[in-house]
């Protein structure tokens, strides 16, 4: 799980071009969106959807569940673990 979380953080930094942010800077349980945590926005949400498909072959089947899945790195990792084939 820890490897997956670190991989996810590195992929987020790369795909979202998070300047001056390191894997260590990202709090695993902090919110990804909004004013707290990383402060991502709706375009980043699209990028994360692509990231999940590109690296893990996963599609978000139910858009309503996106808010919970995308809450933090931890919730993303849980979703990947539960759904990766």
């Amino acid at each position: 799980m820890e490897n997956l979380i670190n991989d996810l953080k590195a992929q987020l930094i790369e795909e979202l071009n998070l300047e001056d942010v390191t894997v260590e800077d990202i709090d695993t349980e902090a919110p990804l969106f909004g004013d707290e945590g990383l402060g991502l926005d709706s375009i980043d949400a699209l990028e994360i959807i692509l990231l999940l498909e590109k690296y893990y072959g996963l599609k978000i089947e139910n858009p309503k569940s996106g808010k919970d899945i995308f809450f933090s790195v931890k919730t993303l990792a849980d979703y990947i673990t539960a759904n990766r084939k």
Binding site: L16, N17, D20, G39, D41, I43, L46, E47, L50, K54
Partner: protein
């Protein structure tokens, strides 16, 4: 009615961004036939990391120059930008992902940022400016079209202050493609930059340079263009001898512009400083205005009492333009 350049900012292959070094020091030269811009410290010019991280090089250059130019302005009533080829790096990134991923999994950021009006829009968003906002993408006439629009808006009383700028960027792919098309024959080097101007209907200081006239000419052979030059000077009630400095940007070094080259006391090939790109004339206008204001040419040579600069630009023998500056 003339417009006045009340502020001007240049990001170019020379030390021009908020610096006097270009006029006092030596000029940077091309490496591998490319003149790449000396870029500002973007952490200083675009402080918000959340905005900066999505911007490609051309967007950062353009936004940095635009914001610095608008800084301190007494209102900006229009933002008019120009680019010949637009945000090439983002366009290449997006098209590359289309091919590599078989038209699926397309990156939204590169697509959004690849549009030609990205820089004008970003400047407006940052300045919270909801005024007239237009981008001209008319290849070798892009900047001239933006200038004409700005002059018309000021002359018609639709705007007091207009932020006008132009930008283009080098990418390795575009250099290679243009090389195959023969763009770099005759020793031309590829250039890039972002040049912004704050134009106003009235002077803000005594030494503001006037943008007197702009004219564009499409597909004119040199013999026919000689007459265009004469007509341009006539409509401004000028003789050739009244032009003090000619800034020319042409791959044909033998063309004498209807005798202007031999009549002026100083003729400077401005593209040796900025390279060749569709909006290179914007660098020439920045340079011309600086020359008149400083009474000096780049790299140290002083001029005595220069009053007028004529900018002549030839882009691929298709787009030719004349721009007259006066102090």
């Amino acid at each position: 009615m003339a417009c006045f350049i009340t502020n001007k900012i240049s990001v170019s292959p020379q030390q021009t961004f908020l610096s006097d070094s270009f006029f006092s020091g030596s000029a940077n030269v091309a490496e591998e036939r490319k003149l790449r811009a000396v870029e500002p410290n973007y952490k200083e010019t675009i402080a918000e990391a959340g905005l900066r991280r999505r911007m490609s090089r051309i967007v950062k250059m353009g936004v940095s120059a635009g914001l610095a130019c608008a800084n301190g302005a007494d209102g900006v009533d229009a933002i008019i930008t120009a680019t010949g080829l637009g945000c090439l790096a983002d366009t290449e990134k997006f098209l590359d992902s289309v091919v590599r991923n078989d038209e699926s999994l397309l990156n939204p950021t590169a697509f959004i940022q690849s549009t030609f009006n990205t820089i004008g829009a970003q400047i407006a968003l940052i300045l919270k400016n909801s005024s007239y906002n237009v981008t001209y993408a008319h290849r070798g006439f892009s900047f001239e079209s933006a200038l004409l629009d700005a002059m018309l808006r000021i002359e018609d009383g639709d705007a007091r202050n207009v932020l006008v700028g132009a930008m283009d960027e080098i990418t390795d792919l575009s250099f290679a493609v243009m090389e195959r098309l023969g763009f770099w024959r005759n020793g031309a080097v590829m250039g890039e930059g972002a040049n912004f101007f704050l134009l106003s209907g009235s002077k803000s200081s005594a030494d503001d340079v006037a943008l007197v006239d702009v004219a564009t000419f499409m597909n004119r052979k040199e013999e026919a263009f000689d007459k265009c030059v004469q007509g341009f000077l006539s409509r401004n009630n000028l003789e050739i001898s009244q032009i003090d400095v000619l800034l020319y940007g042409s791959s044909d070094k033998s063309y004498c512009l209807g005798g202007v080259c031999s009549a002026v006391s100083e003729a400077v090939d401005y593209k040796k400083y900025c390279g060749e790109f569709p909006t290179a004339s914007s660098f020439a206008v920045w340079l011309g205005a600086e020359v008149l204001k400083r009474g000096a040419l780049p790299c140290g040579k002083t001029l005595d009492g220069a009053k007028r600069v004529l900018v002549y630009t030839d882009y691929q023998s298709v787009n030719r333009s004349l721009i007259l500056l006066e102090i």
